[in-house]
């Protein structure tokens, strides 16, 4: 269980980068962008094919970010200049990306098992630092019997994800970032304050998908393969992470919301890990469960609100009734 949870946190931290991308579109831009299912794979595919062709893993990962950014920009273009509904623009791009991803990989699955990836490189550097021994010693002292093979990925990924979070926080507080946030909040206003909302939207959706592709590239390297189907349902997972995080950690400020999204992504992975422990749950059920989580999270506040309204009305009526009697 400990090992499984360790793995959940490890991949959760990477998926958090994807969730931050989803947060940017869904929450900041108010743009329900479905490109994600495709751009996640694009990230994995570009990284994998580049690595296989001898590109250094870090550069390959940067290529992946660029490809995701480009895909996002095209979705943004379709929506702003092509005046296509946001949902449809995303679906069109996602569908187009399926073919493009296959073209990039040339086969439905690419194995990276015998390749040098960011993570194998990391392990080599990390090997002689002694951090693993120290931390695992701690775990043993606490009574754990099976130990994680390395802490490198967890710690380094945490540093990277937190860095991305901090940069995002900064970006959203700059003059450009404020305008970007206003697009999701009051588009007409920010246009009347001389912001080019089309370009900002395009860049915003681009950045979002750049992050998604980065997550895809890292997941492919961590898992040792890129698969054309690895992005299915990714948007719902991203949404679930955002919603779980917001519910648990709040959204008072941007900095709070982004840390909430990261927490949400990790907790989502942990929920999945726990759920899969039950015998009657099969791996294939996870998408259904994720969808149910999102549906529940979207509906619950409305039900709660309706309840409160009803109660308020009943109270008002009771008050009036009493007044009538008194008079």
């Amino acid at each position: 269980m400990l090992i499984a949870m360790f793995g959940a946190v490890e991949s959760g931290i990477i998926y958090a980068i994807m969730a931050l991308g989803v947060y940017l579109t869904f929450r900041i831009l108010d743009f329900p962008d479905l490109t994600v299912d495709g751009s996640f794979v694009t990230g994995g595919a570009v990284a994998a094919i580049s690595i296989i062709n001898g590109v250094p893993p870090v550069i390959a990962t940067i290529f992946a970010i660029g490809a995701g950014f480009l895909a996002g920009c095209i979705t943004g273009l379709l929506h702003t200049k092509g005046k296509i509904n946001a949902l449809l623009a995303g679906i069109l791009m996602m569908t187009a990306l399926y073919s493009i991803n296959l073209r990039i990989m040339d086969t439905p699955t690419l194995s990276l098992l015998n390749e040098t990836t960011i993570f194998t490189q990391l392990q080599t550097i990390w090997g002689n630092t002694g951090v693993d021994q120290a931390l695992n010693g701690l775990l043993t002292a606490m009574g754990a019997d099976r130990l994680p093979s390395t802490w490198a990925f967890l710690i380094v990924m945490l540093v990277i994800t937190i860095t991305i979070k901090l940069v995002t926080d900064f970006y959203l507080k700059t003059e450009i970032g404020l305008a970007l946030r206003a697009i999701g909040d009051n588009k007409r206003m920010i246009r009347s304050l001389s912001a080019n909302t089309d370009n900002l939207t395009i860049i915003g959706v681009g950045i979002s998908n750049g992050l998604v592709a980065l997550a895809g590239a890292l997941i492919a390297q961590l898992g040792g393969f890129a698969d054309v189907g690895m992005g299915i349902g990714m948007i719902v997972i991203g949404l679930a992470s955002v919603i779980i995080g917001e519910a648990l950690f709040g959204t008072k400020t941007v900095a709070r919301a982004t840390i909430a999204v990261i927490g949400g992504a990790i907790i989502y992975r942990m929920i999945v890990t726990v759920a899969l422990r039950f015998d009657f749950v099969e791996t294939g059920d996870m998408k259904l469960m994720t969808a149910l989580i999102v549906i529940a999270a979207l509906i619950t506040p409305k039900i709660v609100h309706a309840r409160k309204e009803k109660q308020r009305r009943l109270q008002k009526r009771a008050q009036l009734h009493q007044h009538a009697k008194g008079a």
Partner: protein, 264 residues
């Protein structure tokens, strides 16, 4: 300063819904002019404002600002030098952002937005000073989300944000109409002050005829997409609401018709 030449707009041309919203509009504003616009519902007042702001492009006609043709300049570019307050108090501010963030966005209006903090210590001081002029205590609530403010407070903030960078032209489209009378009076007062202090060239649509007479140095009456009556300076000062109504009847041969033609 602002030159409108032969502007015409027809909506849904060639369909049963065809509507001539503006016909041959000519209007010239000098720097510092404060023009109030009145007219019945559907007269084309908002359409005229939208044409100036770049929200709408006319079918024919020119819009010149300081001699520069801007008729095809998109709204976001024009808004660097045209400020606008909408009728809806919710329209001019971003509700889930704070007061200081909203002001920072307004402050960046006539500059190129950069990757630098929008709210800095220095700017905060300036925001606070400007907010004080509203006398609403907003200077102590810089970190409050604008969505929590009342309609009147939001409209006051919108007005401040719009005039923050001294736009060449200020457009006000019934910006007090959605407020209760005391709030509306407050916003009217603020409008008077800011226009006077900064000498802004202003176009203000109002359905309140008395207000249209009290404010500004010029008055324009519109009906069915046309400017039917103009008065300025001394002649305007002597006018009363009854005179305006009589004028309308004389020109149009019918009663001034507006469900909101408020007299007082």
């Amino acid at each position: 300063m602002l030159d409108l030449k032969d502007i015409s707009i027809t909506f849904n041309e060639g369909t049963p819904d065809e509507k001539k919203a503006l016909t041959d509009i000519n209007l010239n504003l000098k720097k510092g002019d404060f023009v109030t616009i009145i007219g019945s519902n559907g007269a084309g007042k908002s359409t005229l404002m939208n044409t100036i702001s770049g929200n709408l492009y006319p079918d024919v006609g020119d819009v010149l600002i300081n001699g520069r043709q801007v008729v095809h300049l998109p709204e976001y570019k024009r808004s660097a030098f045209i400020g606008r307050v909408f009728q809806d108090p919710m329209a001019g501010t971003a509700p889930s952002m704070t007061i200081e963030e909203n002001l920072a966005m307004a402050y960046a209006r006539n500059k190129k937005r950069k990757l630098v903090f929008g709210v800095t210590k220095k700017r905060k001081e300036m925001f606070r000073d400007r907010l004080k002029t509203l006398n609403l205590g907003l200077e102590n609530r810089l970190n409050a989300k604008v969505g929590f403010l009342s309609g009147g407070e939001r409209q006051a903030l919108s007005l401040l944000m719009t005039t923050f960078t001294d736009p060449d032209i200020l457009l006000l489209d019934e910006h007090t109409a959605a407020l209760d009378p005391s709030r509306a009076a407050l916003i009217t007062e603020l409008t008077k002050e800011v226009v006077a202090n900064s000498g802004l060239t202003t176009l203000m649509v109002t359905h309140n005829m008395q207000q249209a007479l009290d404010l500004g140095n010029r008055l324009v009456m519109m009906d069915k997409g046309q400017i039917i009556f103009e008065v300025s300076g001394k002649a305007k000062r002597g006018l009363r609401v009854e005179d305006l109504l009589r004028e309308f009847q004389r020109i149009r041969g019918e009663q001034f018709e507006s469900d909101r033609a408020v007299l007082g």
